[in-house]
Amino acid sequence: MSDRELQSLDGVITQLRAPVPVRAEWRAGLLRGVAMLPPPGTMSTGMPVERRWRVRPVAAVAAGLACAVAGAALTALLLGRPQRAATSDALTSLTATMPLPGEPIGRSTVRFLYVAPYASRVALVGDFNGWNPAAMPMRRSPDGRAWLIDVPLVPGRHVYSFVVDGDLAADPAAPRAGDDDFGVPSSVVLVTGAKT
């Protein structure tokens, strides 16, 4: 490419070389993330590492297949059960109903929790807030590893998802919604009513 041809793009290149501002909060989060990691090279001896299998590959594949079969059997068992058994308490380990003192009758508070230590923003969207990503921003847990929010919900079935730095993500700890619309990864929480 000749210099003259390149000159016609000089203005474009100058614009693209303009510095992108670095957000101080994001930089601090990045350095926090680095501080949480073990020091690099602590496992390094400076010599090429000999590969040693802790588990023989064949055994690992066999174990994987066995887990898949067991998982399929468990799924079939759960799907065969009456719907009533599939409450959020029974099926999720993180997102769970959480009765609060003085809670209005007919509503239960559900604590939604998403583990994402390196995310800078996480929000909850669902049919209860019109899938509006600005409606329910989640707060970071004190240890900085998870994001959470408590939401009072009426009893029934609610479909929801997390917005992690702009991308939708289903709750890995909750059942997936079978009726995902537009292929959006969604999860289900079943609220059985306030406990007394």
């Binding site: 016609s8 474009v12 957000r23 501080a35 690099p40 730095d165 939708l168």
Partner: protein, 193 residues
């Protein structure tokens, strides 16, 4: 003891390789210096490559954390910037692939503002949006080569190490990217006049 010595040395005069050695010797402040030295070009490349400030922050963060974890594997014979950009370019490629798999993506107003405003006056903002739109319309391999060559100012050998592509292929990508950009921005100017 190496740590007290670090305090006496003018860290700004230390090369990247020396700072990497400091980190591996157990001085985490040296990595903060490496981050500050390379954060701006990394974030700029990712922003221009992905067209989204939030995605750019994510992949830059991911690349730097990966670099930290893999620091012992860094070979000082090669440039640290080249090594870091190789990681970053891979993360950008992965991000672009993942993005194409999403059927629906939530884009907030804040996203738009991040991309539209970067501290300059409103007059040049319109031009920059047109430039960013034209850059976004390039094929991703052409965009990658163009940005590495003309924005980050890497040499072709360095680009080959970063991208894994051959020098002649990279030259062709850059040439085609320039031609396409000229066409796209020429069309905009024609419409304006």
């Amino acid at each position: 003891m190496t740590l007290p010595a670090f305090a006496r040395v003018d860290a700004g005069s230390m090369t990247d390789a020396m700072l990497v050695r400091r980190v591996l010797d157990g001085d985490p402040r040296a990595f903060t210096m490496l981050v500050d030295r390379h954060l701006q070009p990394c974030l700029r490349f990712a922003t221009r490559m992905l067209g989204s400030r939030h995605d750019a922050e994510d992949v830059t963060q991911e690349a730097l954390l990966r670099a930290y974890r893999a620091l012992a594997a860094y070979d000082p014979a090669g440039g640290f910037r080249t090594w870091l950009f190789a990681i970053l370019v891979n993360r950008c490629r992965t991000s672009l692939l993942q993005r194409s798999r999403y059927v629906r993506r939530v884009v907030t107003d804040e996203d738009m503002m991040h991309n539209a405003v970067s501290g300059d006056d409103a007059g040049s903002t319109e031009l920059r949006i047109e430039i960013e739109r034209a850059v976004a319309m390039l094929d991703s391999d052409q965009r990658e080569a163009f940005l590495l060559k003309h924005v980050e100012q890497l040499g072709y050998e360095e680009m080959a190490a970063v991208t894994g592509a051959g020098v002649s292929a990279l030259k062709m990508r850059v040439k085609r990217a320039c031609e396409r950009l000229r066409d796209l921005l020429g069309e905009v100017n024609d419409v304006r006049s």
